[in-house]
Amino acid sequence: MKKIQRGTLVFAIGAILVFAIIQVLLSLQILNSFWFTIIRIGAVMAIVSLGLNLIYGFNGQFSLGQWAFYAIGAYASADATYRWTQLHSALGVLVLLFAVVLSGVAILLIGRWVSRIRGMDALSQFALYLIATVLLVWVAVLLGKALDASVTAFLASLPKNVSLQIVFFVCIILAGLLAAEVSFLFGLPVLTLGSDYFGIATLGLTIIVKVLLDNSDTMLGFPEMKGARGMIGIPKITTWFWVFTFLILAIVITRNLLLSSYGRAIISVREDEIAAKAMGIDIAFYKTLTFVIGSFFAGVAGALYAHINGFLHPNTFNFIKSFDPLIIVVFGGLGSVTGTVAASFAWALVLEGFLRLWLPEGFETWRFVVYPLLLLIMMLLKPNGLLGNYEIAYLRNLIPPLRNKNENQTPPPPPLTVATDTQEVKS
């Protein structure tokens, strides 16, 4: 007990120190905007990757959909802040707020009802939730329009900077929640698929989201997103403070979640689904829970990202880039929170920072030749990731190390049969 406390203290002090040092360096212009952007991107990637680490590293669900939720978070928050700064209307925030809250409540209520009557299959539940959310989003639009004027007037009465920060903060949280709700809806049917199949399905989601964003002005009806032309006019208000706060929050949430009985259940699902089920763990619930929390992180990170450059383009959310968080998570060590955070910063600093500075003139094209080579060498030398199972004291000893699922020892768990079993048992 005492040891954990010391670890916590060290972590907190360390976090404050890191925050303060970087803030001072930024204020003194020692870190110029080149490094500043890279550090912020590193932190954003850390949040995304923490979410993925939760989903993949701790719960064993191979997901390539993290990037889709990142995109959803980015565009949703950007649209709301855009409307606030450019059109001076709180409509975006309000609609987002009502949509998220109403659907959230509906999901909880329906979830409770569904769990009481039992025996409803995932797809039917999905249909039910879908109908409810679509209706409620429509209600949210009406409500938002009704309340728009008064809320706008109220926010406008505040000092400009304060209202902007409030709107921004609310948008970050809402973007995370929206991503979480979408992930819930998507995950309901798709989480019943087995590991690699789940990965492919989520990759499909990433591609679908990218296509929708490409046509956001014509097919989704958001002319301000400008589709493939890229969205401009987003306020650039992501500061080091915001990024760092949310990064620390993500670490603390991850840590506390994993410490709790929920965390043990989540990890047990990764270790052996059948055994976990035999112990009375509701596999579907824990899979959904982890997926939703992981996507929440992705949404938050997306919102933070959107306000770094003040420009969003669907190409950023290309499926090829969706491998980046995966690379980071594996690189840092699957199931290692410290490793994920370290690897995110290392990834951003090396790829965008040092490789740009170090490669001699005329070798700019070699950046992406060196990068995969580094990746390959690293993977061959340390197949369990940069830090393996290492954790800082604050996070240590909480998490059983990832069991080496070597097929020579044990066959991989057959999740597919489990998935079908679940349904049969229930019906």
Partner: protein
Amino acid sequence: MKSRVLLSFVLLVTLVLAACQPAAPTEAPAAEQPTKAPAAEQPTEAPAAEQPASTEPIKIAMLVPLSGPVPTFGVSTRDGGMLAVEEWNAKGGVLGRKIEAVVEDSQCTPDPAVNAANKVIDTDKVKYIVGETCSSASIPVSEIAEEKGIVQISPTSTNPTVTTKADGTAKKFVFRACFIDPFQGLAMAKFATEKGYKTAFIMLDQGNDYVRGLAEAFEKSFTELGGKIVGKETYTSQDTDFSAILTKVAESKAEVLYLPDYYNIVNLVGAQAKEKGVTAVMMGGDGWDSADLDLKAADGGFFSNHYSPEDTRPIVQDWVKNYNAKFGSTPDALATLAYDATNILLASIEKAGVDDPVKVAEAMASIEWEGVSGKITFDEQHNPIKSAAVLQVKDGKVSFVASVAP
């Protein structure tokens, strides 16, 4: 339990500390935003640091996509720009100083472009940027350039928002060397109508704003001129199979197939169109202009361009000859525009007379430059005003057909 109390305490402390440091959250935007207004303030310190070392080379940066999906565009842009720099250096440079070009890879994607721009501005202390090639990368770069008072001229980014802010006013420091979308679409629509074509089918890449802009402009002008758009289909830049769309084109019996994409797509579509029995005349924009255009696949097609290689003006002939001597191929549109953009930038520095972005931007706004792509002046939106040439691909060569004035 105890640890949780401690934790919340620590969190509280963090928040309080952050609150006690009110400069922290507002500091960074403060550093970024107000620079827009006192743009004059920055140069006052910049030349002061620069003046004593006036024999130092003037640095310009080239942000081009050297990796990512279209590195070949980046290579063309770089080669074109470098040739201009070399020529100026051979003439003795600008303001008596040599020119040094810093090339940086921006991948045609927003994030790397921002990093590349920040790197050249902060680390290399560059005050003039040529680039980026793609609009999606040029827009975030232009915002940085505008904030920091760095002159940027994009050779090929057609998106109107590259040079304009969200409220529609022009960015002071950002220019472009290419047409914006509407003009080429209009030129081609005019040409098609004059040729007597009545029906057209449009194919466009949904994810490429250049293509989209041209297609929309063509659609609008062609309809206004009395033509009829009989179909409009989209694809993605990664598609290689266009059979479904081309079958529809053949079915629609359109006389014109407007395909304002880059040559790589034109090659694929052209080859497949022949197999699918499409008889429509293909028309396109300056994206076609490349040594890699498959002349057999695009046979019979017309495209609008900045200049004609047959143009007898010496600057055009020299450009084609020099480029060919250096890189062994005829220059494409990207190289040509990069060459012009770099020339305009260097000429503006020469015209301004000082190494000062504010003066250079002012000089550039009023410059009149005889470039390869015609006589260039800038309008209030910092878009060039120049005429377009219509070229035809026929029997394995590209020849001049008509000229369309703005």
